[in-house]
Each structure stands twice: as C-alpha cells, then as structure tokens.
C-alpha cells in the first residue's frame, strides 16, 4: 500500500496467462463459472422446456431421453428447472456482491476518514455483526413477504459490516501516508481525497471480498429457499428444488442430488476464483490466510 497509483489493479492483472498456467484450478473454476453464467443467460436455448409446466402423468420419472435428469413430484422437467435455477443463483450472487460492496465502500470510506462518525458507524456495525445473518434475513422476508427483491436486501444487509470493516482498515492505514498529507496541505477538497487518493487502494481487496460475498450470498439464498423463507416457490431456484425434493428424498433422491451438486459446484468455483484473485491482488492477505 505504498504507491498512490490508481492503475494498480490493472497493472496487477497483466500477466494473467502465466498466472493461470501456474494455478490451473483457478482457470477451471473460471471456465465452469463462465458456462454457468452463459447457461443462465441463455436458459431458453439450453434444450429446456417451460420449467414450471406440469405433466401430472409423468411424475418422479428417472432420467430418460425426454427428461435428461428425470421429472419431479409434479412432473416438471428437472433439467429445465436446474438451468433456470442458475438464473436465480447468479442474479442473487452478483447483485448482493455489487450492492454490498458499493454500500460498504461508501460507509467505510466516510467512517474511516471522518473521525467523529467512525465511532457511531462502527458501533452500528458491531451490532449488525452480533445478529445472526440468516435469522435476520428470515425475519425480514417473513415480515415483508417473499419476493426476489426482499431476499436480495435481506441477504445484503448482514454482509455490509464485513465490507465496511475491510474498507475502514485500508483507509486507516492509507490516511497516514505522506501523499494524503500532501493532498490535504494543498487544499484538496475531502471528496477528491477520498475518491482519488484513498479509494484506489481499497479496490484490490474489495474485488477479492466481492467474490466471497457472492459465494456467501448464493449459499444464503439456497438456505433461505430451503427453509421456506426465500425465493417465492413459483420461481425455480436450486434452494426451492432441494426444499421440494426433501419430502420425497427416500423415493427419489436424484431430485435432491442435481440442485445440490449445482449449488456446491457453483459456490466452490466462486470460492476458488476468489482464492486465486486473493493470491494475485492481495499477497499480504494471502500470506495470512
């Protein structure tokens, strides 16, 4: 954290290919994620049918040429539901990551730089950290009703304090740097100091944090849906598929297997990508982990 260069993240991203060669696992994770995101975006073209169409005569069928992964207890095509379910996970993961990083960044920058605000903001964050995130999300969803927006907000709120703490810790070290002092002494206005001189230092650790938030958000969405306090049951999501399949687990375990594998593989890929980015962008943190 010595150079003020705003171009640091870009600089560190060069030489990506030798890096991927050294860490083939990160490359594989990237490819898997790419496939999942593409499948989610182009779900209607992935040899799918209407994921909510009921065929009561074809219930709980094992895999066949017609239904690649079989059908569920209402005769819906599991492959189609799996592909459309990726949409929910990808959307929740990306939205929660983007929003909580953005909000956490603003709060952390301001709290880290303005001393009198720091105490107040950090007490609120301590309080938020003490509340079990999943329970808070369950409460928010059950009070305001199940919708995808509620789920995203409910998952995002408990993620914010960790981002704020990260940003604040970077700000606290950077604000003592000579170049910040220099900027202050030539009369640079506060917003310019924050944005031009302090913000760039926060970006590499924040990119890493974003991947972890994304993984954690996908996990929480699945847990909320599994418990019946998440994505509305009319929308196919992996959590909802597991929640429905658990009732008939002993008769048709494969209906639980597919969304379970999809969840585990996706979250694993995001985490591996995050670890790779951490080793690349934030070697100091990588050493401590």
């Amino acid at each position: 954290m010595t150079a003020p260069a705003a171009a640091m993240p870009l600089e560190r991203l060069t030489g990506v290919f030798p890096f991927l060669k050294r860490y083939p696992l990160v490359a594989i994770a990237g490819v898997i994620l790419g496939i999942i995101v593409l499948a989610a975006v182009f779900a209607p073209f992935m040899f799918t049918r209407d994921p909510t169409a009921l065929t009561p005569l074809h219930r709980l069928r094992p895999a066949s040429e017609l239904n690649w992964l079989g059908t569920d207890h209402l005769g819906r095509d599991v492959w189609s539901r799996l592909v459309y379910g990726a949409r929910v996970s990808v959307m929740v993961g990306l939205t929660v990551a983007a929003l909580s990083i953005l909000l956490g960044l603003v709060i952390g920058l301001v709290a880290g730089y303005i001393r009198w605000l720091d105490a107040i903001v950090m007490r609120i964050m301590d309080g938020l950290m003490a509340i079990p995130g999943i329970l808070l999300a369950i409460a928010l969803v059950s009070v305001s009703g199940a919708s995808l927006t509620t789920v995203i907000v409910a998952i995002m709120v408990p993620e914010i304090p960790r981002v704020v703490r990260l940003v604040r810790s970077v700000v606290l070290t950077v604000r003592e740097e000579p170049y910040v002092e220099a900027a202050v002494s030539v009369g640079t206005p506060l917003p310019a100091i924050l944005i031009r001189h302090i913000l760039p230092n926060c970006i590499p650790p924040l990119i890493v944090q974003a991947t972890y938030v994304c993984a954690s958000a996908m996990l929480t969405e699945a847990i909320l849906s599994f418990l019946g306090a998440g994505t509305p049951p009319t929308i196919p999501s992996w959590g909802n598929m597991v929640a429905e399949a658990r009732l008939l687990f002993q008769i048709a375990p494969w209906n639980l297997l597919w969304p379970g594998i999809a969840l585990a593989v996706t979250i694993l890929a995001v985490n591996i990508l995050g670890d790779g980015l951490r080793d690349r962008l934030d070697p100091k943190l990588a050493k401590r982990m």
Partner: protein
C-alpha cells in the same frame, strides 16, 4: 483486573442496545405486524383494530422504549400462534440445540486444531493441500447438501445410523449418540474449515519465531515444539475465531435441525416461518445475539486472565 472485566462487561450494553435498535426498526419499517397477525382475509377495519390493541398507533420511539423495557424484564414477547411467551417456548426447545452445539464445538475443535497444526508443520506438502481442499469444500457445500449426502450414504444405504430424530442424553445416552453423530458432522463441516484455516495460518506465523528455533536447537521433540510452543502462542486468533464462528453455527443449526428433524430452536424458527409467527423470530434473534455477545465476552475475559500481554 476486576475493573478491566467490569469495563468489558459494561461495554456490551451499548452493543445490545444497538442490536435492539436495528432489529426493531428494520422489522418495523419493512412490514406491518398488524396485517400479518390479521391474516390475508382481514378487512382494513380489523387490521386497524389490531393495530390499536397492539399499541402500534403510538409514536415509534415510545413503542421502541416500551419493547426495551420488556426485554429488560426478560420478556421476549408472545407467540401469535400458540399464545405462549417466547421465553417459555425457548426453554422447551433449548436442550437439543444446546446439545448439538456442544457436540459440534467439541468435535470441530478436536478435528480442526490438529488438522491446522499438521498442515502448518508440513506447509506446502500433501497434508497441507488436503487440508486446504477440505477447507474450501467446507465453505462451499451447503449444510443441507452435506446433511442429505450423509443421510443417503450412512443412514439409508449403509444403515449405520438412524435417519432422523433426537433423544435426550439424560433419557438414553447410547441412542442420543447414534442420533447426534450425523447432525454433528454435518454442522461441523463449515466450522472445521474455519478453525483449521486460522490454526494453519497462525501456527505458520509462529513457527518462524526465534523461540521455536531455540526449542528445536535444544533438542525438544517436534511434537512438543508444535503443540506446546507453537500452538500455545498461536492460540489467541484460534480461540477468537472459535467464538466468532458461533455466528455461523447459529445459521447452520436452523438448517441441520430441519434436515434431521430435531425438535430444537431451529425447528422453532422454521415452524414460525410457515405460520408467519414473527414475534418468535424477533425474540430468537435477540436471544441468539445475546448468546453470541456473552460468549465472545467470556472469551475476551479469558484472554485477559490467561495472557498477560493483553491489556485493553
């Protein structure tokens, strides 16, 4: 020393206050409790009547302080569905959850700490890589996927353990053990990952210290170097994470109890979701937050007693 402990204890009061503030305003601003209580078929007059009877027409700050006074009397509110006080419901359901948490913490610490020490010792070797793979998996596989995976293999296919259920250890200890094994492993997975990773990192850091070289130079056997010299000095971050990780356990307990059909606090939450019984959820949030804060307070105080270097 006493003054120090007193200051630490007192400093948790504002945190609890902030928790109450956040929970109250977030839940109040995102929905209308009267409408939930009245149900979907109620007319607007009925909702208004309930609103008046619950005191929801009073100014918000008055409602908030009323609720805080209630909390100070250990009154967490009343369940909408059963009409019982939430504290009574918690008392009825706490044993299975406490037992599951206890077995999980014991099991995780016994597995994760040696795992982390071994990985640090042979840092870069195959044991280290294996431990890191287990850690990434622990953070990635959802609790319920792990749960059903274990049930399918060890309960349905191999029939080593019962599929679901819970028996109190005070009634039948043997049955308790067979029924609690799979839930404990399920819940431990993420916790083991968390503890093993921090153990590995802090032991690696300590192994570079001069006193480790000295201990080795004087001919101390390696096991003693690792577990007496290194682990002891690496203990503070490990114990901290064990305390902070309880937050993960609380989320995991709700899911695990639901998978294994254990009648604990987690099931209380799940039942409350389907009945939209929000006072239970609100009360349990306060209860779990209190446990989390008190537990971490105790850990903090133990540091100050055990490690003379730490003085706040």
């Amino acid at each position: 020393m006493l003054r120090l402990i007193a200051t630490r204890v007192l400093s948790t009061i504002p945190v609890m206050g902030v928790v109450a503030l956040i929970v109250f305003f977030m839940l109040r601003l995102s929905g209308d409790p009267a409408a939930i209580l009245a149900g979907d078929t109620a007319t607007s007059e009925q909702v208004e009547k309930i609103r008046i009877s619950l005191g929801l027409t009073k100014p918000l700050y008055e409602q908030f302080f009323g609720w805080v006074v209630q909390l100070l009397r250990f009154d967490l509110g009343t369940s909408l569905f059963t009409g019982l006080p939430v504290t009574t419901l918690i008392a009825q359901r706490i044993e299975p959850t406490a037992m599951l948490a206890l077995t999980t913490i014991i099991f995780s610490v016994c597995i994760a700490v040696p795992m982390g020490v071994l990985a640090a010792w042979k840092s870069g070797g195959w044991i280290d890589r294996l431990v890191m793979v287990i850690c990434v998996l622990g953070f990635s596989v959802p609790v319920f996927v792990m749960g059903y995976f274990l049930i399918f293999n060890f309960a349905i296919t191999l029939r080593w353990f019962p599929v679901q259920g819970y028996t109190s250890p005070f009634v039948d200890f043997g049955r308790f053990l067979t029924q609690i094994t799979l839930p404990t492993i399920t819940l431990s997975f993420i916790y083991v990952a968390l503890i093993a990773r921090i153990t590995r990192a802090s032991v690696i850091e300590v192994l570079g210290e001069d006193y480790i070289r000295t201990a080795r130079a004087k001919g101390q056997i390696e096991a003693k170097v690792l577990f007496r010299h290194a682990l002891k000095n690496a203990a503070v971050p490990i114990v901290t994470v064990i305390g902070l990780g309880v937050a993960l356990l609380i989320g995991g307990v709700v899911v695990t109890e639901s998978v294994y059909n254990i009648p604990g606090l987690g099931r209380l939450v799940v039942d409350a979701i389907t009945r939209r019984d929000y006072p239970i959820i609100q009360g349990l949030i306060m209860f779990f937050a209190l446990i989390y804060i008190v537990l971490n307070l105790i850990i903090d105080i133990i540091y100050t007693l055990v490690d003379p270097r730490i003085r706040y």
